[in-house]
């Protein structure tokens, strides 16, 4: 029972962390930053590769910096460019998906298709081996890191005023620019922080479980599900959804098998999206699928 609960919480906070990363970009730009999944997969491999030279702490910092930098690069070179051409969100999504596959395969080419766990790294294994409070220490460490990330993002958005700016960016980027705020910088910030959080979360998860070149999509799916089910801008609701998903997935794994997690998660997503359309939940667009033209109130 305790194992189930702790697994559920652990997975829940992991989903929340990645969900916050995904939502940072989606809620401010309507872009599905699917490539984030590949960055997520990349971080632990970087840590493992850099650890012999830089030590654990150095490797972790470098990996996070690298992933953040890559995220900024993708945001700028790919999405910013598409935005300037006025491409619809479908194109952003398809591009991001293409980049995901590209990156994931490159990781597989370089490091193979096996999963990477950081728990066995020298320097880390002493800390996270063994058990504390009846639970594996690695799990506690991973969970704490994810909680820390989620809290940090929430507090920063709340108290720095950036949360409002990002919401304004999603709504009317032209007007935001006219009000004196640089939207390219704001979007860059969203992408950068998104990469940072995803990288951190990935390293945390790799300490407890293991992450592979193709794990990105699997990690992204519950995160994106939680984001899409949450009304725009409601970070606390996102946390609740993430934890619920963690519980659901853990229960599914314990009762049937791990292979059913994703179908169930996605079934829930589809139900949620369909339910929203048909049942009329509070959607952030004023009427139907956003078809009332602007300006023709």
């Amino acid at each position: 029972m305790l194992t189930l609960l702790s697994s559920a919480l652990s997975q829940g906070f992991a989903i929340a962390a990645l969900g916050f990363a995904f939502a940072l970009v989606y809620w401010s730009t309507r872009i599905f930053f699917v490539a984030l999944g590949a960055l997520f997969a990349l971080a632990p491999f970087l840590v493992a590769a850099l650890q012999p030279d830089l030590g654990v702490a150095g490797a972790v910092v470098s990996a996070v910096v690298a992933v953040t930098g890559l995220s900024l690069l993708l945001g700028w070179a790919n999405h910013e460019r598409l935005l300037r051409k006025g491409s619809p969100t479908g194109v952003h999504f398809a591009c991001s998906l293409a980049l995901y596959f590209l990156t994931a395969e490159l990781i597989a080419l370089r490091w193979g298709s096996d999963v990477q766990s950081l728990a066995t790294l020298p320097g880390l294994s002493e800390i996270v081996g063994g058990r504390s409070f009846l639970l594996p220490t690695s799990q506690l460490v991973a969970m704490s890191l994810c909680i820390a990330l989620v809290t940090a993002v929430f507090l920063v958005l709340r108290f720095s005023g950036h949360g409002v700016k990002l919401r304004a960016l999603a709504d009317n980027p032209v007007e935001l620019s006219r009000s004196g705020y640089n939207p390219v910088l704001l979007r860059g910030m969203a992408f950068g922080v998104s990469g940072l959080v995803a990288g951190g979360a990935s390293i945390a998860i790799a300490v407890d479980l293991a992450v592979g070149a193709h794990s990105g999509m699997g990690a992204l799916i519950p995160a994106a599900t939680a984001t899409l089910l949450t009304p725009l801008g409601r970070w606390r609701s996102l946390l609740v959804w993430a934890l619920s998903l963690g519980l659901l997935r853990t229960v599914v794994t314990f009762t049937t098998s791990g292979a059913w997690q994703d179908p169930v998660t996605l079934g829930l997503l589809l139900l949620g999206l369909l339910g929203r359309r048909l049942g009329g939940w509070k959607v952030w667009r004023p009427w139907g699928p956003g078809l009332v033209p602007r300006g023709a109130r």
Partner: protein
């Protein structure tokens, strides 16, 4: 089977699927990531009927077509209920789900075709009957001919639909769903219809693929394949008739270029995916073509 025939079969099959997808993506303007789901369902339906129930090839094809129709209603339901952002992600989710179900649809021990083992899971299904029949299976060119025959029939029907007032209505919906609604068009129904036809064509392409490859596994419904179809579509032009067909032919020939450079082994699989992804990326940046779902509205600029 000669290598050329193999490529020809693939080009025909992928072309059909890409054309189906173009109805949804190019003509109605909704990006669907679930074409591989239809493809996979068609392939598995044909394989199960042919192997587990030992139906003769044409009967299996007919039965699979029935399954394809039923499955298309599912896709239609999704298209009717979701729109824009949610539709894109919803179809991706749907695809992953279907692939997952195909992968998990087995308990490992039961007989294929029974409820406990519908799909043989990761092991796949072997000895899928070829077209036109097992007896004539020894003649590879006959298979190609049969595939071409079915494809051409479906292509003609599709062309008729695209060029008809219905096709024009789809493109009108793409241009301005608001206006279409306010003029009394059943926008969501028509989108659903387009998605259904797209799905049906994808499933039939899957059936033909299964009869060609003789062995299928869950990768036949993977998201990579959806991306692949999208690439075929964009390479040739999403909102035209010949575009998806030419694009598929082009994409099928691409790995042959790799082969010319003597690249082989395990890296080929990765490189192939990288290749398609890179091509898709380049296309999306250079000529998004039919993915620009709103036509060219005067005064419309890119976002800040």
């Amino acid at each position: 089977m000669s290598y050329e025939l193999h490529l020809l079969n693939l080009a025909l099959v992928y072309g059909l699927s890409a054309l189906g997808l173009s109805l949804c993506v190019g003509h109605v303007g909704q990006l669907s990531m679930a074409q591989a789901a239809s493809f996979g369902v068609g392939a598995y339906a044909y394989a199960i009927f042919g192997v587990a129930y030992s139906l003769p090839s044409w009967a299996a094809l007919g039965a699979a077509a029935g399954v394809a129709v039923a499955f298309s209603f599912l896709q239609g339901f999704i298209a009717r209920s979701l729109a824009e952002d949610e539709f894109v992600f919803g179809t991706l989710a749907f695809n992953v789900m279907i692939a997952g179900l195909l992968f998990n649809g087995t308990d490992g021990t039961s007989r294929l075709g029974s409820l406990r083992n519908l799909t043989n899971g990761p092991y796949g299904i072997t000895d899928v009957p070829p077209l036109p029949s097992r007896a004539l299976g020894a003649e590879p060119w006959l298979l190609t001919l049969t595939i071409a025959f079915v494809v051409v029939i479906l292509l003609i029907t599709s062309y008729a639909a695209i060029a008809s007032p219905w096709g024009r209505l789809l493109r009108a919906i793409r241009d301005s769903p608001t206006l279409a609604l306010s003029l009394g068009k059943k926008v969501f129904s028509e989108r659903a219809r387009a998605a259904e036809v797209a799905s049906f064509l994808g499933s039939m392409a899957g059936v033909l693929y299964a009869s060609h490859a003789r062995y299928i596994d869950p990768s036949v419904a993977s998201t990579d394949l959806s991306v692949f179809f999208l690439t075929c579509l964009l390479l040739g032009g999403a909102a035209s008739f010949w575009g998806p067909l030419l694009g598929s032919a082009g994409v099928v020939l691409l790995p042959e270029v790799l082969r010319l450079f003597g690249v082989g082994g395990a890296t080929v699989a990765s490189l192939r995916v990288i290749g398609y992804a890179a091509v898709l990326f380049a296309l999306l940046h250079l000529r998004p073509g039919g993915l620009l779902s709103r036509g060219e509205q005067p005064g419309r600029r890119g976002a800040v």
